[in-house]
Amino acid sequence: MTNSLNDMRHAQSMIFIGSNAAEAHPVSMQHILHAKEVNNAPIIVVDPRYTKLAAKATEFVRIRPGTDCIFIMGLVNEILQKGWEDKEFIRTRVAGFPEMAEVATKYTPEEVEKVTGIPAAQTREVAEILAKNRPTSLTWCMGGTQHSIGSSITRAFCILQLVLGNMGKSGGGTNIFRGHDNVQGATDMCVLSHTLPAYYGLSDGAWKHWCRVWDVDYDYIKGRFKEKKWMNAKGFTLSRWYEGVLGEEKIEQYTPIKAMIQWGCGSNSNSQYNRVVKAYNKLELFVIVDPFPTMAAATCTTDNVYILPCSSQYETSGSVTSTSRQIQWRYKIVEPINGCRDDYTIMKDLVERLGFADEFYKNIKEVPEDITREINKGSLTIGYNGQTPERIKKHMDNWHTFDIETLEAKGGPCNGDYYGMPWPCWTEEHPGTPILYDVSKPVAKGGLPFRNRFGLEHKYSMSGRTEDMLAAKGVYNPGSEVKGGYPEFKDVVPGTNWKTDLSQKTIKEAISRGMAPFGNARARCVVWTFPDQIPIHREPLHTPRPDLIPEYPTYEDQPNQYRVFTKFKSEQNPDLAKDFPFVLTTGRMVEHMGAGAETRSNKYLCELQPDMYAEINPVVGNNMGVRDGEMIWIESPEGGKVKVKALFTERVDEKTIFMPFHFGGVLMGKSLAGEYPEGHAPYVVGEPANVCTNYGYDIVTQIQATKDGLCKISRA
C-alpha cells in the first residue's frame, strides 16, 4: 500500500477491483466503512461476482473476468475526454503521459462495453464519480494480478491514479491489500526467484552488496553455484516449479529439480494442482515444514516425504511487516507444544547439518533480534534501516499513544513517530513514511517525492519524443536544497550510492539537505522493459469470447520464462469455448484462509463452512437439471476435474462459475482423509479448486492466471 488502512478513512471515494475485502481483509472494513459513513465516500466495487464487499458498495460494476485493463484504460480515456485529469500533477510529476493518452483513446466506453460487458453509461458514471470525489483510494488484490496480462492490469491501475493526481495524498493512493501480517514482509525479503532481499535484483553488484552485509566472502558464495551464470539467472517460480521436476515441458537448467522444501506453503493454492501432485511423487526428497500437515503430505504415495512440525505464530517471536508497511514485533505467548519447534530452530539445525553455519550466523548471535538487525543493515533500497528491534518493541508497548487517523504518536516515548515506522524509515531518528510520494512534508518528517529509478531522460520508441525523467521545477519537499527534480544520491562515499553505502552516510547526507536519497523524479506511464510498454487489453488464453482474439490476441510463446517454456499464443485456442462454455474464477471465503490447512483444522470454522462448493447461477443449474446442494463435476480443458456441491446464487452471472480455493484433502473425487499422518487429518476435506484452474501465466511475473479460465459442468 502506498498509504495505510487507517489513511483510507480520509478517502473521498474508493474503488475496489479484484478485491473482496469484506471476506479477505475484514479488519480493513472498519476504515473503509468509516470513510463511507463520515465522508459520504462512494464505494465502487468492480468484480465478476456480487461479493460481500459489493453488498457494502454504492456502485457495483459486474465485469467479465480478465478484462480489468480495458475498463481502467476506458476510465482514463473518459477522464481525459472530459478534461477531468489533474493537469498540474501530470505536468510536474508524470512521465510518458502523451504516449499513454494516445493509446487510451482507443478504449471508448462503447469499446469497453463490447469487451467487458459493462454498459457504456456505467463506465461514464464511474469516471464521473472518481473525478468529482477526490482523492480516490484504489484497491486491488489477486483478482487484478492473476491474469496473463496481470502486469498490464496493475500498471493501468497506477496510471488511473496518476491521471487523477491521487498519488502522494492522504485518502488517495494505490492500496493493494496484503493478507496476514507478514505477507508484505515476505515480499520485502523477496522470497522469490528473481531478486535478492529488498528488491536488489540478481546482478553482481546486488550479490556483492549482500555479501558485505552478511560479512561473507563473495567468492565463497560464488563457489556454491555450479557455474557463475546461475547466480544471475532467474529461478523457477512458485507457479511452475513442478515443470522442473516433471520434464514434460522444456526447461532451461542443467538438471531437473530433485528435492524440495515447502516451508509454510499451502500447496493446493498452486494452479494445475493435479500436475503438482504428480511432481511431489517424482521428487527424490520432499520436506514439509508447517504447523499442520498440508494437503501435499496426503497426496504423496512414495516414502520421500518428511514433515517437520513447526510452531504457530503464537509460539515464537520476531519482526513482521503489515500491509501498511508497518513493522511490528510479535511476542511469544506460549512455548511450542507437542514437540513442535520454531522456524529459527529448524533452520539452525538444517544449516548446521548442511555445513555452513559459520557463514550463515556470522552476524546472528541473538535470535531473532539480530536477524532484524541484519535486515536493517542491508535493506537500504526500501528504507528498512531505521526500524531497530528496540524501536519496534517500543511502538508495540505504546500502542495507545498513536492516533488512529494519522498513525502519529502524540507525546509519550514514541512522540512524532508513525506507528510501525512504515518503510522507508531512513534513519534511527526518522519517524517512518506513512504515505509514499507525499511532497507536502519534509523528507525527515515522512515526506517523499517519486523515485529516480529509470535514468535521467528517455526517448520513447512509439513517439520518438525525449523526456526529462526528473520532476519539474517547483516540485519538492519542504526544506529541500534543490527546488525541483534531482537525481539519486551517489559517490558521497566514493564508489557507492545511497543503496549500497553500508555506512549510511549517503542517506544521512540527503536527509540533512532536506532531500530524498533516491532522488526526485517522475512516475512513468510507459514501462519500456515490459512487452506492452503501455497497458493494452489482451484476451485471456482461454477466452469465452473467441471473436475478440483477432483484435486482442495474446503474446508470443516464451521459450525461457523463469527457466521453462511458457505457452501463450499456441495455447489460445478459439474453439475451446465450444466445449468449455463457462468462465471459472476462484476466490476466498471469510471463514477459511489460504490453502486451509490451518482453518480446516479448527472445529468452529469447519462448522461454519464444512463443504467445498461451486457457486452457479440458478438459471444455469435449472437448465442442466441440477438442484441446489446436489453434487456436480467441474472439468477444466487440461482434464482436471472436481466433484463439488452446487450452490445456487445470483452472486455469479449465467456465464461464470466461482469456487473458493481453500479446500483440500480430496483429489479428483477420491478422499485422501486417510492419507494424513494418524490423528492429523483436518476436520473437513474437499476438492481443491486449483485442480481446475487453467493453464496461463503472467507475461512478466509468471503469476498463475487463476481468475479467468474456462470449464464445463455436469451432474455428478
Binding site: P26, T58, L608
Partner: protein, 195 residues
C-alpha cells in the same frame, strides 16, 4: 444506568462470523450449539444485508414467562440468565423465543435435550462468580471483569455494539447522524436505481 443491550448495525455487518467464533472459542461452546449466529438476508442480491443475532435479553422476556421450573431470570441490568442445575430441558423457552436463542446439546441418546444453553451476555451465571463451575456451565464472566461481551469486543467493523443501552444508543445515533446525507442516505435504492 440503563440496561444492557445488543445492537447490530446492519450497515456495518460484513457477515464475517468473527462474533460467532469468538463466542464459541472463549466460552468453550460445543459444535452444534450456537449462542450467536449471523443471518444473511437477500444473499447475493442487491440489498443483501447481514445481521448477527443471539439472545436479545428482552425487557419482557417470553422465555421467563413460559419456563415451568422458573430457572430463567432477569438481572437488574436487564441481562437474562438461567440456572442449568434447575433447567429440565423441556424446550418451552425455545418455542417461546422469537429469535431462536435457546440452544440444546445434541448427540445424546434418544435426542435427550439436556440443560438449555444460551447467550449470557458474557455475564456467567448463577454459580459463584469466576468459579470453575461458572466457567464450565455458562462460560466467561466478562461483565464482572468490566469488559464487553466477547462477540462485540471481536467485531472487526464495530457493527455489533453491546453495553449500557444509553451508550449503545448514543453510538448508533451519532453514526446515523453522520450517515445522514450523500451516498449513504438512500442506500441501496440509490446504488441500483439508475437515473
Amino acid at each position: 444506568m440503563g440496561r444492557m443491550k445488543f445492537l447490530c448495525d446492519v450497515e456495518r455487518c460484513i457477515d464475517c462470523s468473527g462474533c460467532v467464533v469468538a463466542c464459541k472459542e472463549g466460552n468453550h461452546i460445543p459444535v452444534g450449539v450456537n449462542r450467536r449466529r449471523v443471518i444473511t438476508i437477500g444473499s447475493g442480491q442487491p440489498g443483501e444485508k447481514s445481521i448477527s443475532v443471539s439472545c436479545m435479553h428482552c425487557s419482557d422476556a417470553p422465555c421467563i414467562a413460559v419456563c415451568p421450573v422458573d430457572c430463567i431470570y432477569q438481572r437488574e441490568d436487564g441481562i437474562v440468565l438461567h440456572n442449568k442445575d434447575t433447567c429440565i430441558g423441556c424446550g418451552y423457552c425455545f418455542m417461546a423465543c422469537p429469535f431462536g436463542a435457546p440452544q440444546f446439546p445434541t448427540g445424546q441418546v434418544f435426542g435427550a435435550r439436556g440443560a438449555m444453553d444460551k447467550c449470557t451476555f458474557c455475564a456467567g451465571g448463577p454459580a459463584e462468580t469466576f468459579s470453575a463451575k461458572e466457567m464450565k456451565l455458562y462460560g466467561q464472566n466478562r461483565i464482572a471483569e468490566g469488559k464487553v461481551p466477547l462477540c462485540a469486543g471481536m467485531c472487526a467493523t464495530k457493527s455489533l455494539l453491546a453495553g449500557d443501552s444509553d451508550e449503545v444508543a448514543d453510538v448508533y445515533r451519532e453514526r446515523n447522524f453522520k450517515r445522514g446525507s450523500g451516498a449513504n442516505a438512500w442506500g441501496w435504492s440509490k446504488a441500483y436505481t439508475k437515473k
